[in-house]
Amino acid sequence: MALGLKEATRKLLDPGSYLGWALIAIFTLVGVYFWAGKISSNYPSLLMDIMMFVGIALSLAVIMSFAGYVSFGHAVFFGLGGFSVTIVFRSATKGGILAGVTSNSVVLLVLGLLLGIALSILLAATVGAAVLRLRGAFFAIATIGMDYVILYLETLVGEGGELEFNPGYTNFLEKTYAFFLIGFILTFLIVYLVRVSKFGYGLAAIREDEDAAEILGVDTTRYKIYAFIIAAALAALWGGLFSWRTSSVGPENFSLKYSVDMIVMNVIGGLGTLAGPIIGGIIYYIVKRLTLIYVPQLAYVVMGVIVILVVSFFPEGIVGIVNRKVKKLSEYLI
């Protein structure tokens, strides 16, 4: 199932990866200027937003877009990631179990991210694995249920679930940008390798016809669970980074609105592709940003109308349409 190292290196230079590398190059370049103190924090902040949006879109893509299982409760992993980072930081303050062990915020962040990823993998491998037996709408509803169970349990902690922490504010934005960049590169590499590996083709087979895939020898159960685990871990990574950036966690982090963001980005971009969530994520972010600037109170209405229009008239999404009209591009927009 896994790619060999040599093969993976070769795949990383395929045309399908150019889009991702181009983005990484831009983000790194802006980062270098930012770290050198040459530009203000406006552009890096904007790019961090985009990195997170594309990042969570890519995380959901592994299960929704590649395998065809629409998880409406994916925010649960995003929330768990944020919750873990918060808990680790809080336990390093006076009276916590990590008090006196270390107060290095970078170490704590990495610990928090790892804890979040571990918890998410645990949840995805147990409850998630059971829920993956369901198909279509039943799966979607069960994941919503999973999200709400954790959300309601989270509200029992702290004041209605609202927790804050002190991430240590020396060079905070510079550090945050570095972590977001590393997170983005990791996310892209993992999702890209899933897409081009045998595993990815197995997932595509599951999406098109699960029974047929099973008959043809795809270990559907195992593939689905692995895909769900990868998707969960990546969502937890971004949830953790997001909480670090906002220095807090709350029931809001588990809110379905993050699931919605992830789903809509994938739908707009085009299902079944790697370029879909990347392009969809960037466009969605721009649209969301513009609506928030010009018609802030109607942001939800705009989003709802876009979803209906896309699903009704362009169910194949931007990448699907572009690839159909311009055949040459389909090599790059895989």
């Binding site: 829920v131 919503i144 709400y148 309601y152 349990l153 029992l156 709802g304 209906i308």
Partner: protein, 306 residues
């Protein structure tokens, strides 16, 4: 916990459950008949609650007791808008619901839902309507008292009225589905839409009628909920009503209106008992979703499903 407070919590649970059953009953219809998992259902119910308040407070001063019926009629119109904007292109012509169609309908209803949410938030943001207000200042009085005492528990008359109308709605819809030719057709489409077409009924029309009925029931359920809670109506109620509706519908069995009502009672009582034991509403809600996941895994057809 003593026996008296347990009785109180169970009684309150039954009342809450009856209302939730009424809210969820529209969902079982559209899901059971059209196989459309209507993610806008919760938003539609909240819209119904707001419409009831708007009719009473901001426009014609309609008596809250009549609100559910008025909202039902408005719901038919909104149902038509809902069908033609979000469903017709996707499921109108679809003979069978493939996974792809199902997913698309899920997303489009979802889009309609957040559009409603956005419009309500907009109206609130502009100060056209107020949230957390509901029917504050209004109370149903019988003999100068606003509540009666049943088994040592004080129960507000308005809540009893809402329960009575909820039961009426369930019975009426159940009769409609069993006794009228349209009802029979709707149930037939749920089983075999092609066979219905052969008998001369247009399945597209049946889908439209189902959506109208389901939407009107969702809005009416919301209006009943508004009477039931009295105040505290806000757009985020959706986060309680929608997921609970899913739990109840799955519990009651897809397509069974009566089953949904009983499912509502079960969830209401469960929440009541869990609340009595733990003192936390959140744990009661979490329990409901655990029930949902377990049910989906072990008996997705529910208690009364085929």
């Amino acid at each position: 916990m003593d026996a008296a407070s347990l009785v109180t919590n169970i009684l309150n649970g039954l009342i809450t459950g009856a209302i939730l059953g009424a809210v969820a009953s529209g969902l079982t219809l559209i899901w059971g008949v059209m196989k459309v998992v209507n993610l806008a259902h919760g938003h539609l119910a909240v819209l119904g609650a707001f419409l009831a308040v708007i009719l009473y407070k901001y426009t014609i001063g309609l008596n809250p007791l009549l609100a559910p019926f008025a909202v039902f009629i408005i719901g038919v119109v909104i149902g038509a808008i809902f069908y033609y904007t979000s469903l017709h292109i996707i499921v109108g012509k679809a003979e069978t619901m493939t996974l792809k169609v199902e997913m698309n309908s899920l997303l489009s209803t979802f889009g309609f839902g957040i559009a409603i949410y956005g419009l309500l938030s907009y109206a609130i943001g502009r100060g056209w309507i107020a949230q957390y207000e509901g029917f504050t200042g209004w109370a149903l009085k019988v003999g100068g008292k606003t509540y009666t005492t049943i088994l040592g528990t004080n129960i507000i008359y308005a809540k009893l009225y809402a329960v009575a109308i909820a039961v009426l709605l369930i019975v009426a819809v159940e009769m409609f589905l069993r006794k009228t030719i349209w009802g029979l057709t709707i149930r037939a489409v749920a089983q075999d839409s092609r066979a219905v077409a052969l008998t001369g009924y247009n399945p597209v029309t049946v889908k439209l009628v189902t959506t109208l009925l389901s939407t009107a029931m969702a809005l009416m359920g919301g209006a009943l909920y508004a009477i039931f809670v009295g105040s505290g109506i806000n757009p985020d109620l959706e986060h309680v009503l929608a997921p609970l509706s899913f739990v109840i519908v799955v519990l009651g069995g897809l397509g069974s209106v009566l089953g949904t009502f009983i499912g509502g009672l079960i969830i209401g009582v469960t929440n009541g008992i869990v609340y009595a034991l733990t003192g936390e509403t959140a744990i009661g809600l979490a329990t409901s979703f655990v029930i949902l996941i377990l049910l989906l895994l072990w008996k997705p057809t529910g208690l009364f499903g085929r």
